[in-house]
């Protein structure tokens, strides 16, 4: 059935309002869209890493989650999901569970790229039937914007601040999507919030309904960490894809498909200019940082295009 935003938005919310996430935060948007991708007749168990999302969506005695939900710790969400999936398998075999359950895991970039990387890799390798959503806001936001391995080069974070001797983070980010692809996952997709959410929804649905360990990584702006006005969130997402900083693509059984080709590839400085974390890059004498950022994005984009042919 063709995607229809109006129809999607008329579904009952499975991530309820009243949570404590900031205005303009991408995490809540990710959760609503993720849950819309679960068929209404199906149930879900959400396994959540310690994160802004966890402390904001399940603060005792309230929960924003209409489905079953478990949080254990920061670094072990994939292992918890593996346990839930194993439970589902054996309980189905022993006739102890009714209905169709989908196992979803969700963590930020800290809980996915860094501290949760081992348990993610283990669960991917073992082939559990679950979908991992990484809401990637490119730093440890829950503790106050410390750098992560997802933080882009030149971003000012509280542990890589800009200063007279510093132009922000020194390293480019880890390419986690490629690392997950290398695990042989049957479906891996990179998305963000764009227009009518067709790209997000299609990928999330495909991931959830593909058997095996699947992975969706969502560029998920953070108004506090990236330092932008809340209403600029859609604009920042659009610029991330039109500058090719965050290309939209999917990898199905190892085959790459570009799902969005910018009509006109924009310069990266248009994305950077809207965010306080790159402010220092625009100071006289730091022009080279923007050039270096452009060069890196161009190189990665060419590599991706080569894979998509």
């Amino acid at each position: 059935m063709a995607y229809n935003l109006k129809q999607e938005m008329s579904k009952p919310e499975r991530f309820a309002p009243g949570h404590r996430l900031c205005a303009g935060c991408g995490a809540g948007i990710t959760c609503r869209a993720m849950m819309r991708a679960v068929e209404p007749g199906d149930k879900a168990v959400i396994c959540n890493a310690t994160s802004c999302l966890e402390v904001s969506s399940f603060q005792y005695p309230y929960t924003a989650w209409e489905d079953s939900y478990i949080h254990a710790a920061f670094e072990n969400t994939s292992a918890v999901a593996a346990g839930v999936e194993s439970a589902l398998r054996v309980m189905q075999r022993r006739g102890k569970v009714q209905g169709n359950f989908k196992i979803l895991a969700i963590g930020g970039d800290g809980g996915t790229y860094d501290i949760g990387f081992q348990s993610l890799s283990g669960a991917l390798e073992r082939g559990h039937d679950f979908t991992y959503f990484c809401y990637d806001n490119e730093a440890y936001m829950n503790t106050g914007t410390q750098r992560s391995s997802a933080t882009p080069r030149f971003a000012s974070a509280t542990t890589t601040p800009a200063g007279v001797e510093s132009v922000g983070k020194k390293q480019n980010q880890k390419d986690l999507t490629q690392i997950v692809v290398a695990h042989g996952s049957p479906y891996v997709a990179q998305t963000t919030f764009l227009g009518n959410f067709k790209d997000f929804h299609t990928k999330a649905h495909k991931a959830i309904y593909t058997e095996g360990p699947t992975f969706v990584i969502v560029l998920c702006p953070c108004p506090r960490g990236w330092q932008y006005d809340a209403e600029l969130l859609p604009e920042i997402c659009r610029l991330a894809v039109d500058t090719c900083i965050w290309p939209l693509y999917e990898v199905e059984n190892g085959e790459y498909h570009l799902t969005y080709m910018p009509k006109k590839k924009l310069p990266v400085e248009e994305f950077m200019r809207l965010q306080g974390r790159f402010r220092h890059c625009f100071k006289p004498g730091n022009e080279w940082t923007i050039e270096a950022a452009q060069q890196y994005v161009d190189q990665k984009w060419e590599e991706l295009l080569a894979k998509c042919k």
């Binding site: 966890e54 710790a73 346990g83 839930v84």
Partner: protein
């Protein structure tokens, strides 16, 4: 009808697991507990169980997977030792505070460093405040019997806490001993099915586990957990009584050996009790009123019962098989001394740390400890309260 066999502690525990046929077993190997999942893997391969057996990439993940599985509505188990238990540390607390009655078999082994694979209790003692129930075995039979009781204890509705079933690494885990096994059908009838009230995969009613608990709620959760641990003492005794009715072997919170009229006594745990009992028997033949208490349940700690059992003694030596680095004694001493604090007439009490990293413990050593207790009674002088036993004097050797 019991079946006589000859098994190591690890195989005895694995046999109990096979008989129970749990839903999920998440494993990661570490010496000396590794054989437990190895035996179990063979049971899976041979179709003797239909457990979901997952080989995860670390102990942190094995317990995390158990947390997911148990919350989802399953009986989930794992096994570990030493550094593996330490690596689980954070998630032990999560399992306990989420009130998930996971059963964790621990073949107790020294912690690094230096790295050492042999027995002491530095691993399990480091986790004594994690919120797990801890039950210790003297030998293979007790390890098996304790395991058969573990699920029922943990799953008791007003308890709902995870359980560590501890055996002594190598000494118990690897040594073959005669053992009485129970028939599979009798074990299954005794352990029963697990029917949790709330679980993640209950389709008619979703569940949320692991909230952010702010100051207005955190303390209530912790107090509820503390109450559950108090309730565990009753549950352990109830399950032990049913175990005795069913299988004929009797268990309590601790074992009193020749304590009726004992003036001097040891308090200790695990396989050392067998050695120390031989010393007690020899001394009794010489007319010395010696006895010992072997702690079976360390969490919940049987403080009142222990004080009652020790109150008529004149001097007591606690034998600690782990070094707590408190500079004033090991953890068993701290608990035993605290248990006796409100007695009107307290025995004099010393702590002896021994047997670290697999250092042998002998009947002669036990007799020397009793001799020291005799001198304390005779002179009224305690002497040094906290000492070590069995270590060489390296300075002397160098000379």
């Amino acid at each position: 009808m019991s079946i006589r066999d000859r098994l190591s502690g690890n195989e005895a525990i694995a046999t109990a697991m096979r008989q129970i046929n749990p839903d999920v077993f998440a494993m990661f190997p570490i010496t000396p507990s590794t054989e437990i999942p190895q035996y179990f893997a063979q049971y899976v391969a041979d179709g003797k169980v239909d457990t979901e057996f997952i080989c995860v990439e670390s102990e942190h993940s094995s317990l995390s997977a158990c947390i997911g599985a148990e919350a989802a509505g399953c009986r989930a188990i794992t096994a570990t030792s030493s550094a593996g238990l330490s690596f689980m540390n954070e998630v032990l607390y999560v399992a306990a505070s989420s009130r998930l009655p996971i059963v964790l078999a621990v073949a107790c082994r020294a912690l690094t460093g230096p790295i050492n694979i042999n027995h002491d209790y530095s691993d399990s003692m480091a986790e004594r405040d994690s919120g797990f129930i801890q039950i210790y075995a003297e030998n293979n039979q007790e390890a098996y019997d304790n395991y058969l009781q573990a699920h029922r204890i943990g799953e008791t509705p007003d308890v709902r806490l995870p359980v560590m079933i501890c055996e002594d690494g190598f000494i118990t885990s690897h040594a073959l001993e005669n053992i009485e096994l129970e028939r599979d059908e009798d074990v299954r009838a005794f352990v029963g099915e697990y029917h949790p009230e709330h679980y993640l995969l209950k389709s008619e009613n979703p569940l949320a586990v692991g909230p952010y608990g702010t100051s207005p709620y955190y303390m209530e959760a912790r107090v509820a957990q503390a109450e559950a641990m108090k309730n565990a003492k009753r549950a352990i005794l109830e399950v032990a009584a049913d175990f005795e009715r069913t299988f004929g072997r009797k268990y309590g919170l601790f074992e009193e050996y020749r304590m009726e009229d004992a003036e001097i006594a040891l308090v200790l745990m695990g396989s050392s009790a067998g050695t120390a009992k031989a010393a007690v028997d020899e001394l009794r033949e010489q007319g010395v009123q010696a006895g010992l208490i072997k702690i079976r349940v360390f969490r919940p700690f049987p403080a009142e019962e222990l004080a009652e059992a020790l109150k008529h003694c004149k001097a007591v030596a606690v034998l600690d098989k782990s070094e707590g680095f408190s500079a004033c004694g090991g953890p068993l001493f701290a608990e035993t001394a605290a248990a006796c604090i409100n007695l009107d007439r307290r025995p004099k009490m010393v702590d002896i740390v021994y047997g670290l990293g697999g250092r042998d413990f002998t009947v002669d050593q036990a007799k020397r400890v009793f001799a020291r207790l005799g001198r304390i009674v005779e002179t009224g002088e305690i002497g040094p309260v906290y000492t070590h036993m069995g270590q060489r004097d390296l300075r002397e050797e160098a000379q």
